[in-house]
Amino acid sequence: MIYFDNSATTKPYPEVIDSFIKVSTDYFGNPSSLHGLGAKAENLLTQARRQVAELLQVKSMEICFTSGGTEGNNLAIKGAAHAYSGRGKHIITTVMEHASIKETCKSLEEEGYEITYLQVDSDGLVSVEELKKALRTDTILVSIMSVNNEVGSIQPIAEIGQLLKEWPQVLFHVDHVQGIGKIPLDLTAGKIDLCTISGHKFHGLKGTGVLYIRDGIRVSPLFTGGNQEARLRSGTENVAGFVALAKALRLTLQKSAQDDGKLTEIREMLFQGLNDMQGVKINSPKHGAPHIINFSIPGIKSEVFIHSLEEKEIYLSTTSACSSKKKSVSDTVLAMFHDQRRAESVIRISTSYGNEHYEAELVLREIKNTLLKLQKVMR
């Protein structure tokens, strides 16, 4: 089996599952309970929070555990929008954000907020100049992803952070779900106020995530109730999941530090191989995140292509997993190239640490074979 769909989800590390099982079995207490079992669970939660904070080089109190990327993004956008509505009701984001940002912004539009969607160029990048022009005195939030989930373009987050230093009233949210462990991001130096990551994208478990909320930033909670997570997220904490997340993050950042360029090499191999194939158009920019490569085969339905490869136990995906079920075109690719046919036939390869060169070779060969086969049939 070759699993090349790591941007949809990753396979949890066995050590991570071990932690989850051990905590769920031995330390199942509710961290809010007063007895010793509760204290132990709370202790674990504190340690998990501390470890995540240390790994991200921020303070413990700035870590809010969530159920994943979607919740993190919702909490960041809605929470900040509601908490700071007194300052203004203008939000800036981009046309290529994940659905959990886009749809959240849409729902805010219905509440009377005004959203500016920045365009992207054919490299999938926003322009800092455009952003500068879009900023207004009533802008309260800028939300821009670090790495695009479909094509892997890397936005100039540090530069945007520098620009926003001159706009202290404007909060800066970064959706770092695809970027964590793959590209470096300095939360403190980058003037980042809010940052989302999701456990299952870095070999943790589904249903776990983190929203970084810079000290001093107010966010209105989505859930009300028992006031867990410093009142930001009521509901009994998923202690085992968060311990597992802390471990997965440590292991991933370790692997990232030890990576001697293998991930990039594999991507370059794929990029070169796909570039040489007739009928294939690469959508990812040449210099993108080291783990995502996106291409189109105009004229061939990507779903058919995916299933043909699946017969060889090769797992790729069409567009982002979260929108692939509704059979739509890729908004991201459409925004980059304004080409309907190209945006309808999108295929994404996403790797992670642990993938090997030979896998890329094999996949390239199978893509070529499938392509020849399908081109005969479908023409």
């Binding site: 071990d18 051990k22 204290a39 109190m61 311990v243 471990k247």
Partner: protein, 404 residues
């Protein structure tokens, strides 16, 4: 080119005469401890100053680390270069580049102890000033009266030294140079702050905590251990004496009228603390009391409570408002721990309306019916002492090596 050493100035120690050597030695030890993660860096001390030779370590990280060492007045990153004029020019430019955005005006002050150097002081000032102006045209201006940066260039026989930025140190006196005292650590916001402030003035401290199971939980004890771990930042470790207090507390509840229980409790705590102090050969007791904050911290209460001992009781927070204390607690990174809502020895038995103006004669009279001496002795005997090391996961935490 890179900063290669850091200059440390002592401040108040330099006014001490005879015991100067021990002051400097203590400071040296503490800087060494603060440099524990920077293996390559070395420390040299002279009469007036100390020098950290970076040997490739990052100067900013080291400065951040030693900024909090008590006894340091100020620090400056500095460069040592050869006597070649081009090299000196490049170093001067490097120095101002490190401060880009922070400074707008500068001047150059040259000191020439080596009179054989081909340029004299004025020539050097002009040469370097001109070089900087040419390279920083429109960004930097000269201001000889009140410059943002006074670039000091010291020309000596062996080399040329450049410094100029003065970074404020934590001030105070080196840890341990003022003797030892016992800190009464409850787990609240105030006492750890009192601990840090005492250490700032050179006190070595040990903590005393009163533990009353089952009325106070394991978690409240845990909290105290976590606070002790924070206090250990200064010296690397912190001793905590845990006093089993349940029996005495129950007896007080039984014997003393309700509105005087608080006063009596404090009096007994102080007596026990003093007994432990004597054993540990310390010279004072430190509390986190702030005048008028709660019933036990009114002047009348202090008068009635303090009467039980003649040892000096130091109250570093006496004149501070709660908000000022909270600010400091945040700065010392203890606020989050202190703010966890567990019952501690002070809150459980608090009467509904404690006396804010207790009368000394009355409390003496109430206590005269019970022989507390034996109990105090027993308490001191059963006191458990733990040494918490900085960075150590305090005891009581789940064994977790493989979980994380």
């Amino acid at each position: 080119m890179k900063f290669d050493h850091i200059i440390i100035r002592y401040g108040e120690i330099s006014t001490k005469k005879r015991n100067r050597k021990s002051f400097v030695d203590k400071l040296k030890n503490h800087i060494r401890w603060a440099l524990r993660d920077f293996k390559a860096a070395t420390l040299q001390a002279s009469r007036e100053r100390m020098y950290i030779l970076l040997n490739g370590e990052d100067h900013q990280k080291i400065i951040d680390q030693i900024k909090s060492v008590y006894g340091i007045q100020s620090l400056s990153p500095a460069l040592k270069v050869g006597r070649d004029i081009e090299e000196i020019k490049a170093a001067a430019l490097y120095y101002v580049d490190q401060l880009s955005g922070e400074i707008e005006t500068f001047k150059v002050s040259t000191k020439r102890s080596d009179k054989d150097f081909p340029y004299n002081t004025n020539e050097m000032n002009h040469l370097l000033g001109g070089h900087l102006l040419r390279n920083k045209d429109g960004i930097l201006k000269v201001d000889v009266k009140k410059p943002d940066l006074n670039l000091l260039v010291e020309i000596r026989k062996e080399a040329v030294y450049l410094s100029g930025v003065n970074i404020q140190g934590a001030g105070g006196l080196p840890f341990g140079s003022s003797g030892k005292a016992m800190l009464m650590l409850s787990g609240g916001i105030d006492s750890p702050v009192a601990g840090f402030l005492s250490m700032k003035r050179g006190l070595e401290i040990e903590c005393i905590h009163f533990y009353s199971p089952p009325f106070t939980s394991e978690r409240s004890k845990q909290k105290v251990m976590d606070l002790a771990e924070k206090l250990a930042l200064v010296n690397g470790s912190m001793k905590v004496h845990i006093v089993p207090f349940t029996e005495i507390q129950l007896l007080i509840q039984k014997q003393i009228p309700e509105n005087y229980t608080m006063t009596s409790t404090r009096r007994l705590m102080l007596r026990i603390a003093d007994a432990i102090r004597e054993k540990e050969e310390a010279l004072a007791i430190i509390t986190g009391e702030s005048l008028g904050q709660v019933a036990s911290q009114t002047m009348n209460s202090m008068f009635a409570i303090n009467e039980v001992i003649s040892t000096p009781v130091l109250r570093p927070l006496i004149a501070m408002d709660k908000l000022e204390i909270i600010d400091l607690a945040k700065q010392y990174d203890t606020f989050e721990i202190s703010n966890q809502p567990y019952e501690d020895c002070c809150t459980v038995f608090t009467p509904a309306s404690p006396k804010t103006k207790p009368k000394l004669e009355k409390v003496q009279y109430y206590e005269s019916f019970v022989d507390f001496d034996k109990l105090i002795e027993a308490c001191v005997e059963q006191t458990e002492t733990r040494k918490i090391h900085f960075g150590e996961k305090a005891a009581g935490e789940v064994q977790t090596e493989d979980l994380f």
